[in-house]
């Protein structure tokens, strides 16, 4: 009996598929699932094949299983419009890693076909969650980053609400005399920060709140409810997305006692020096004398495990710029710069070269041991200099080039009313960064983007770039959300989790584990979803022991059914079956690469790709063993400090769930060795035969799953 709207199955025989398996036999598989016999075509991705498929669609095929190459290949060609559901079974790649025309290969192909059919049967078209959304950009912080983000957003036609805790705009840059030249040539340049502040202040699309602070933020992208404490009282407003640009604090000089910080009058920070220079003639604090010699101590607190372990990125250029101020004020003045490494990347090197060519500026590598007040001035003791050994230098004053600490370090900027905490999660050192390297805006709080020095130690020029980048992501997030689509990494995905609340036990796993803090909780602990925060990774679905969270096209039941569709030969056949649940971002491409390289993998594995290993529900392991499968491998991304998971901790959560596995296995009297988590990176293709081969040996050793004979 054929089902209504049953999947139609099309098998491509190109790329050696037809020459590697008995396709006629494969064509009969769908009948086992009440699905019409599969049709075959020699070249489905070619124009003729596509025309054939389009004709099938026109004749009513609404659910199509393409058993050909992987879904990574030609996704665009096999797109027949939004009303046609297309599922791809990577027959080609599965066959490339197998021995052609072998009985085991035939069984493998049959199983993949079965899983594909079941997946399509269990899949529904997602209905996008579409709401009328607010597209105002809330910018928290009115320094150069915040103002740049605000103006970038207004240039894009958006309304902006800017909240600044000080009474004036401009932040740190407002206190500067000048900025160092971006292209490294010429003199330090005007900051133009006052003109920028005026533009922001007078901009018709900017609602500006000075001397104000965010009190609370709740809701989700396009629907953030923001309370702001202003001098006129507390107000409640809406915002669509948020840029956090709360900047940095110069490192506290009083913690640098060995460098005279906080104890010697004529030892000041570079920030203080800048203020002095900006206000007129440079004079030293103790007696207002114009200094005829100034020493700069680099890395004052930075690159120091006892203080800030990182490099603050802007201090070398700042000291070079300030050296120029002194040399301009007094051509006879001497400047000393004690550094560990001069860090003037890119074109900044050209400015460094200019200063190296200045006879009045002496620079040496060395470790500054102490700075003390001597004879009204300062004396600096430096070890390991290029001049050989320890030197002592006297100067009228010393400037400590102190580094930057993220303003987010002690929180208090956003006050998110989120179950997972009030601020953006930090990555390290108090900086609320996200996936470092490839996706600098892969935020863990959808719709909220940190930018500038609050996110990473960076100078003003890079902060301006970062501000524009964050503004784009903020606008993009609302644009996507308004269309019911997910933001990165599953950009464009219109599915979202449905929850069968009547069976919820308030265990809170979903609210704790969601990498994006999508769920809030009510007083009883019932999850309160905020679908527009969701990035569709499925971690909540994997976490839920009640199995009540599912997506229309991605569900616990779907994968259970796929696992149950795997054919399990009897024990006497000596054909073990190993299920591999694999992350589709990295592990699945690694499999494909293995296929392209024609590496050989065991024909006894059955691989299922998951959105993220975090979406792995433990019931699937039960299903696998109850069905008689002999082992399960979990392939996910590396986790820990240098995590590679695009959902931050999906693979980590999955491996944590395994700790509860022994109970399950114990109940079934199965050996714990039957399940193994393996971190897999996208370039691990060459390692796959070994990893899988080793595991097959383990399975051989522990023997067949005794449940085989009971399985249906």
């Amino acid at each position: 009996m054929t089902q209504v709207n049953a999947p139609r199955v099309y098998i491509c025989t190109g790329c050696d598929i037809g020459a590697s398996v008995d396709v006629d036999k494969l064509c009969k598989i769908p009948a086992e699932f009440g699905v019409p016999q599969a049709k075959r075509h020699p070249f489905l991705c070619g124009e003729e094949g596509l025309q054939y498929l389009r004709k099938e669609v026109a004749e009513g095929a609404g659910r199509i299983l393409i058993a050909a190459c992987s879904g990574r290949v030609y996704a665009d060609r096999f797109d027949f419009g939004k009303d046609v559901m297309v599922e791809r079974t990577a027959l080609r790649e599965a066959l490339w890693v197998s021995t052609p025309n072998d009985p085991d290969t035939q069984l493998l192909a049959e199983d993949y076909l079965k899983m594909g059919i079941v997946k399509l049967q269990k899949s529904e078209k997602p209905e996008p969650y579409i709401h009328q959304l607010d597209d105002t950009i809330l910018v928290v912080g009115g320094g150069i980053t915040g103002m740049t983000a605000a103006l970038a957003a207004t240039d894009a036609g958006k309304r902006v609400r800017l909240v600044e805790k000080e009474a004036v705009l401009g932040g740190f840059v407002r206190k500067l005399k000048r900025r160092f030249p971006i292209d490294g040539t010429g003199n330090p340049v005007e900051t133009n920060i006052v003109a920028m502040a005026e533009e922001v202040k007078n901009h018709p699309a900017v609602a500006l709140h000075l001397s104000s602070e965010v009190v609370s933020i709740s809701g989700q992208p396009g629907e953030f409810d923001v309370r702001i404490k202003t001098p006129e009282g507390e107000i409640a407003v809406r915002a669509g997305a948020i840029v956090q640009a709360t900047g940095f604090r110069p490192y506290d000089i009083s913690k640098l006692g060995h460098l005279g910080g906080g104890t010697v009058d004529n030892v000041i920070t570079s920030a203080r020096f800048e203020e002095i220079a900006a206000s007129g003639r440079i004079r030293r604090p103790s007696d207002s004398k114009e200094p005829s010699s100034v020493a700069f101590i680099q890395c004052a607190g930075s690159r120091d495990e006892k203080h800030l372990p990182y490099c603050s990125s802007f201090c070398c250029m700042t000291s070079l710029k300030q050296a120029r101020y002194i040399r301009e004020q007094n051509p006879d003045a001497k400047v000393y710069i004690f550094y560990r490494d001069m860090r003037t990347p890119g074109k900044y090197e050209l400015f460094y070269k200019q200063m190296q060519d200045d006879d009045g500026v002496f620079m040496t590598k060395g470790d500054v041991v102490s700075v003390a007040g001597v004879d009204g001035g300062v004396e600096i003791v430096v070890n390991n200099t290029l001049l050989g050994g320890t030197i002592r230098v006297k100067a009228d004053m010393a400037v400590l080039a102190v580094g930057m600490e993220s303003a987010a370090k002690n929180g208090g900027a956003l006050h998110l009313a989120y179950r997972q905490g009030p601020e953006l999660p930090e990555l390290n050192y108090g900086f609320p960064d996200s996936h470092f390297v490839c996706f600098p805006y892969e935020t863990r709080r959808t719709g909220i983007y940190a930018a500038g020095a609050v996110r990473h130690p960076m100078d003003a020029a890079q902060s301006e770039t970062d501000a524009a980048g964050a503004a784009l992501k903020a606008i993009q997030c609302i644009t996507l959300a308004a269309a019911g689509k997910s933001a990165h990494p599953r950009s464009g995905d219109t599915s979202y989790p449905d929850i069968a609340f009547e069976r919820c036990t308030q265990c809170k796993r979903c609210t704790e584990e969601c990498p994006y803090g999508m769920y809030d909780e009510d007083a009883k602990g019932t999850p309160q979803p905020n679908p527009l925060r969701c990035r569709r990774c499925g971690t909540c679905m994997g976490a839920c022991p009640q199995r009540i969270i599912s997506f229309k096209n991605y569900s616990v039941d779907m994968f259970s059914a796929m696992i149950k569709a795997i054919g399990v030969p009897g024990e006497e056949e000596n054909r073990p079956r190993v299920l591999i649940l694999a992350c589709e971002n990295d592990s699945m491409p690694a499999f494909e690469m293995a296929a392209k390289l024609r590496l050989k993998l065991s024909p006894h594995i059955r691989v299922i790709g998951l959105r993220c290993l975090g979406s792995m529900n433990m019931v699937w392991l039960n299903d696998a063993f109850a069905k008689g499968l002999d082992g399960v491998l979990l392939f996910g991304c590396k986790f820990g400090d240098e995590y590679q998971c695009h959902n931050m901790k999906g693979s980590e959560l999955a491996s944590e769930r395994l700790s509860k596995l022994e109970e399950t296995l114990g109940r079934m009297s199965l050996e714990p060795e039957r399940v193994r988590f393996v971190p897999i990176a996208i370039d691990d293709a060459y390692a796959l035969p070994g990893i899988i081969g080793d595991f097959m040996k383990v399975i051989e050793r522990v023997g067949p799953n005794p449940f085989k004979e009971f399985a249906d």
């Binding site: 290949v73 970038a152 240039d155 900044y348 784009l472 644009t479 464009g492 590396k638 293709a685």
Partner: protein, 418 residues
Amino acid sequence: MATPAPKNPVVVIGGGIAGITAAVEAAECGANVILLEKRAHLGGRVARMHKYFPKLCAPYCGLELNFRRIRENPAIAVHTRAEVAEIKGQYGDFTVKVRLQPQMVNANCTACGKCAEVCPVERQDHYNYGMGTTKAIYMPHPMAFPQRYNISQKACIGKECGKCVQVCEYGAINLDARETVLELKAHSIVVATGWDPYNGAKLQGLSFGVSPNVISNVMMERLASPEGPAKGKLVRPSDGKEVRDVVFAQCAGSRDENHLPYCSSVCCLASLKQAAYVREAAPDAKIFIYYIDIRTPGKYERFYRKIAAEPNVTLIKGKIAKAEHDPETGGVIITAEDVLAGKKITRKTDLLVIATGMQPAAQNGVGGLKADENGFFTNAALARGIYAAGTARLPQDVSSSIMDATAAALKAVYGGRP
């Protein structure tokens, strides 16, 4: 409410990580995007990197996600083997003239690989910086995007051979294909033309191109890669012998007024990363890094500390003055100064890696756009509606290039200030 997307598409020149990022970010804001790449495949320099610093993760991980964003977004059109000949017009209404090199392998290609099996011609493998060979019809990398073979016009002997045409079951090869010209309308343009490694042969005294065991840092990436010419085994190019001693020469061409006056920003981190490759492949090998300053800004400092603390890793402040082929061992003899110790060093090593810097790939301009005296594009000097991003604008690392490209996408879609 929603800001309308521009009428004309955003044209992105360059399909490396900056161009790819600008394209997908702009398209996910609702703009139509045309991405132009002069080579046959996307990915640019980063596709040829073995790992990224500081996570030592594979660049293909991020590329793969971005390729998916391209594949699944009908608003992005990609043209490979496409070179920009001319840019005319103004913001909102540019015309970009593009020369499309002959598309001898068409979209029918299934990447089955039969063509390469029968192709009789071997050519130097440029993807691997000349180390090793490929057939005249080739895929540079199994995961290359688009998944389509490419024919080296220079190497292919043409129709008189035609073996690939005969063997291809899909009619994917046309050796008669000719160059075509496209005239594209553009709302705005992102210039993301990237960088080339500085030619090590210009560095007199370092024997690059003379001794096979003097290699550049980009070559080291290919040597370390399992898809590279040595299948990831770290060996001496001259004789395949396992390396026991590796020297890195920093600032090879960078920070040098006779070569590149600027700092290339990434080479310190690249060498530290490559030291990690050596540590993994040959844990007993001695590693020496000669530097002027170690430049590992921001949180990269942690990576520096981690690698510097590894056994067998030694950092020496000083420049390598000379490197010569060692006829006795087949290795390289270097002469350097140790500035802190105040002495001259001579050392025999198996492999000298010169950390050559970044030279802008479009230093002579693109489509009539002029670069500055160092070959970079500065936004202030470009017309409204044209924005430079990534290493076409500044020497910068991958993460910074991506930030830059995201910022450029905003300006390109919505018409921002430079």
